[in-house]
Structures are given as C-alpha cells and as structure tokens.
C-alpha cells in the first residue's frame, strides 16, 4: 500500500536534490570546478537562517528571502577573491581550495554553533499534508519544495538559453579562450555562474533544514547526494540533473520502505550502477 506513496515522496524529494545539485553541475560545467564545499555551503545557509530567525524574530519566509540574495552576493565575492586565483594555479588547486574551505566552514560552524542537531521550524506548514487518494498523501512542504526547484531550474534554463549573459556563460563553458576573444569577461561570467550556484545551494540548504535536522558535520554527506544526482542524470544537462535527482530520491524512499538502514546504501549503489553501465549518465548532455 505504501509503495505508490514512496515513489511519489521520492519524486518530490528528487526535485530538492536536483535544486541542490544544479550549482555543483553549473560550476563544473562553466569553470571545471568541483566544489567540495558545496554541501557545507548549504549547511552554512541553514545556520545563517537559524541565527537570523532567533536573532531578529522575523518570520521564516522573510529570512529565506533575505538569505538567498545574501548568499548570491557571497558567491560573487568567493569566486573573485578565492576561486579565480585557484583557477590559474591548475586543476588540483581548485580541488584543494574548495576542500580546505569545506574543512574551515565545518569547524567554524562547530565552534560557533556546537555539534547539536538543529531544525528550522516552519510550524504547521512543515507537517501539514493533503490526501491525493487513499494511499497517497502529499506534504505541503514537499510539494512547495518541488515546485520551487522546478521553477528555479526552469528559470536557470531560460536565463542560459535566452539572455546575452546566459549565452556568454554557455560560450565560456564550451571554449573559454574563444569566448574571451569575442568580448566575454571570463572572470565576470564565472562570477555569475557562482552567484547562481550559491543562490540555489542556499535555497536548497534552507529547504533541507526545514525538512530534516542538520548539524555542522552533515555537509559532506549532502554533497554526495548532489554529486550522485549530477552523475546519474548526465554531466552538463540541467534536465538530466532533475532526472538524476528523481532517480536518487525514488531509490532512497523506496529502499527506506524495505529497510530504513538501506536508504543511503541503495542511493550509492544506484549511482555506482549508472557509473558501471552508463557512465555518460541517463540523459547525456554536452560532453564534459
């Protein structure tokens, strides 16, 4: 009886994974950076919102509206100050810089907020649900998250395909030297990519924080989900990432139905299976 429900919940969760993975995919596609601090950034956003809620007493939706643009600005700054420098020192440097950033963020959070597990309290909205049919009930929060994720992905897709800046971004991703010759300022373009990545990761991080509990050390395991969604879907394809997130979400929620202890393992195994039998991903996009 619970199977259909598990699949529906998995699909909705997949939307969140996709939103979370988009930034990782975009930064890799445009700058060839795998941001190992991606998961930790989501956790930083959660703690920032937590501090804002308890510090100012503003309602949660206001805090979310404030946090996301704040993170976007932070993204531009991070790219120009930190990542741009590492890009010129070779591919290993970017990996090490983001890995170093991940360790710094985790431990600063640990010192400031302690190792306690927290949640962002969204009140009745987080727990409320409506029944679609006898066996399937959908939470308001899951549905909102899913719709937000789809809207964000569609927005990014429109931005990339319809605007001049988006075109520059795609051109820089295909061939940075030629794009520069055509007048693209690669540093600014990279900054924009990081802005999108940081904004989406903040939004996803806040949604995660409302859904389930978080602590300073949870970033790396979240990063793995994002990475899996990207690879399952296919590198360089936004809709592939959505598909990958959904495959991951459904696998996790269906296997949790069998045995809750299997949730993570099943997700990893489906990732390894895709790696083994379809390394280009389910929806192969441009070659990375």
């Amino acid at each position: 009886m619970g199977w259909v429900n598990a699949v529906v919940q998995g699909l909705l969760l997949g939307g969140l994974y996709a939103l979370f993975a988009t930034g990782l995919s975009l930064m890799f596609g445009v700058m060839r950076i795998v941001n190992l601090a991606h998961g930790d950034l989501a956790v930083v956003a959660s703690f920032l919102a937590l501090a804002l809620v308890s510090g100012t007493g503003l309602p949660l939706w206001v805090v979310i509206v404030v946090t996301v643009p704040l993170f976007a600005a932070l993204g531009y700054l991070t790219q120009r100050v930190l990542l741009q420098r590492s890009l010129s020192s070779g591919p290993l440097a970017t990996l090490l810089v983001t890995f170093g950033l991940s360790i710094v963020l985790q431990n600063v959070l640990l010192e400031v907020f302690s190792a306690d597990t927290r949640t962002l309290d969204a009140g009745a909205f987080a727990t409320g649900s409506f029944e679609v049919s006898g066996a399937v009930s959908v939470g308001y929060l899951s549905l909102t998250t899913f719709l937000l994720a789809c809207a964000a992905l569609a927005g990014i897709q429109l931005f990339l395909s319809r605007t001049g800046l988006g075109r520059m971004l795609r051109a820089s991703s295909d061939d940075p030297e030629t794009a520069n010759l055509m007048g693209a300022d690669s540093r600014h373009v990279y900054g924009i990519a990081t802005v999108i990545a940081f904004a989406t990761v903040a939004l996803a991080g806040l949604m995660f924080a409302i859904r389930s509990s978080f602590d300073p050390a949870i970033g790396p395991s979240r990063l793995i989900f994002a990475f899996e969604a990207v690879v399952i879907g296919g590198l360089g394809s936004l809709w592939g990432t959505l598909l990958g997130g959904m495959v991951l979400g459904v696998t996790q929620s269906v296997s949790a139905q069998v045995d809750p202890a299997l949730t993570l393992l099943a997700g990893h195994l489906i990732f390894l299976a895709v790696l083994a039998f379809r390394p280009q991903g389910l929806l192969a996009g441009r070659t990375a």
Binding site: V34, P91, V97, F99, L101, S102, V104, P220, S221
Partner: protein, 340 residues
Amino acid sequence: MTISHLLSARAARNVHVVRATRSAKLSAVVLAAAAAVLAALPFLVFSTVTDTLINLFVLIALASMWNLLAGFGGLVSVGQQAYIGIGAYSLVALADLGVQPYLAVPLAALTCAVFALPTSWLAFRLRGDYFAVGTWVIAEVYRLLVVRVDSLGGASGKSLSGLSGIDATLRGALTYWIALALALATIAGCYLLLRGRLGLSLMAVRDEETAAASAGIDVRRAKLLVYLVSAAGCGAAGGVITLSSLSVNPDSIFSVQWSAYMIFIVVIGGIGFIEGPLIGALIFFALQQLLADFGSWYLVLLGVVGIVAALRLPRGLWGLVPGPSLFPIGYLVRRSDGPA
C-alpha cells in the same frame, strides 16, 4: 662503423651521466643513520614518545601513498580512507581467525590490493575532479557495507583480539617498529617504483596522457599499478592504526578526515616530490602537537594553511628548496672534464 655511430660515440665521451650527486649520496647516509636512531628509540626513551611517533609514521606512510597516487599518477582521490578502513577491518578479522596481528599487517595490505582491483574498474570510469568525489562515494559504500556485518561489530566497531598475551611495553615497541618499517617501506617503495620504467611512464601520463599513450605507454596499466600499490600501503597503515588503538570504529576509520590529512600534508610539503610527504608530515605533526588544546580551531587553521599553500605555493615547501633531490629518480647529464 658508420659515421653516425662515430659521432654519437664521440658525443657520449663528452658527457657524464650520473644518477646521484655527491650531496644526495651524503644525505642517503644521513637518512640511514636517522632511521637507525629511530629504530633504537624504544630502548632509549619513554613509551609516551614512541607512542606519539607511531602517529607520525602512519601520517608519513599515508601521505607518501597519496603523493604516489596524485602527485605521480595524477589520480586525485578523496577516497583512500576506503583502504585504511578495509586494512583495519581485515586486521581485526584475521586476528579473530587466529592470525598473529603483527603478521596480519602485510595480509591486510594484500586484502586491500584485492579489493582495489574491482574498485578501480568503477573508479577509473570517472576523470579528474569527478574521480575524486567518485572514490569518496565508494569509500562510503564500503563503510555502509561494513556497518551491516554483525560479526565485524556493526556500527559500534570491534576491538582487536590476539594481543592480550603480550606485555604492554613489548607490544608498544613492536607496534612502533612496525610503524617505522611501514613509513620506511612506503618511502623506499615510492623511490624504487619511480626510478624505474614505471616512474618515467607515470610522469609522462600525468603530464600529458594522450601524448604518453601515443608514445606506446600502457596508460591504464600504469595507473592501475599505482592505484593498487597505494591501496596496499593505505591498508597496511590502517592495520598499524588498529594495532596502536587496539580497536576499530567504522565512522572514524572510514572518515574523510584521513583524506584531508593526506592532502594537506602532501600539498604543504610539495606534491610530486618524494621528499614532500616527509616535510609535510613533520610540519603537520608539529602543528598537531602544538595546537592540540585548541579543539577544532586547529582544523580551521589547517584548512586555511592548505588553501594558502594551494594558492601561493603550488610546489609546496620542498619546491622552495634549491638543489638536487634527496631521492634522485632522474639522471643528471654533465659535460665530462676528460679529453674529448
């Protein structure tokens, strides 16, 4: 004799090809003496000193293995903790089966190499940065699988059996010697591997894979060999960690923290130099001892140092040292002074 033979023979008389300079030979003697002094330490100092040094030796071994993998093989992995964990758990399992734990260390290394073979098939499908995160997922899978095995203690871990009959002082000294032997073996192993044909082909692959392949190098085989050696080395290190802590916990032995340590040691010391992990491990070890009271701020500092080193010192501290290498893996060509 053709004229070209004549010319090349005359040219060869003018140059002098050597492996090691005089200073490298001297430093080899110094290193051998240092190793001898270290080996004698359990007779000279209190066991607290040797117990701390075990930690240093493990770090040197792990960092050397990561340097071999990433610095020479170009395989930047964030998942070597998989083999530390497998090594540790094989030691515990073998000890349960009645194998003397000290003798089980090489077997643990072998087990890791056996596990690494099918793992490499999956991991090598990913390139560059994605290889890094892919290896991490694989390490997580190994952790989640181990946790499910009840005979290995499940999520709470397991303690090492088979050592209770040995006197604590002797046990400490034996573990110390094994750790020292491991550190020396990994350095010597890297040196011997890299000075031969494999070293040359690896460096060619790392610098330009396509060109190396077109020059007739079997790229996949070279990478696989490095991957297997590195897995075995990390497995032996995992075994030594377990010998020293006497128990194993899945969350800490499979922790990505190990990768963080390895990477920072190698980056700070100098990636792609055999000397790098040695220097880096000494600095890391000193920082660890100095900042032990500051809790996680020490990891924050480590992260910052790593970022700065990656940006400002891409060749690490050893890259700043002028002059010839302590472990010459190339050749020096000099004009000879003799008559032409």
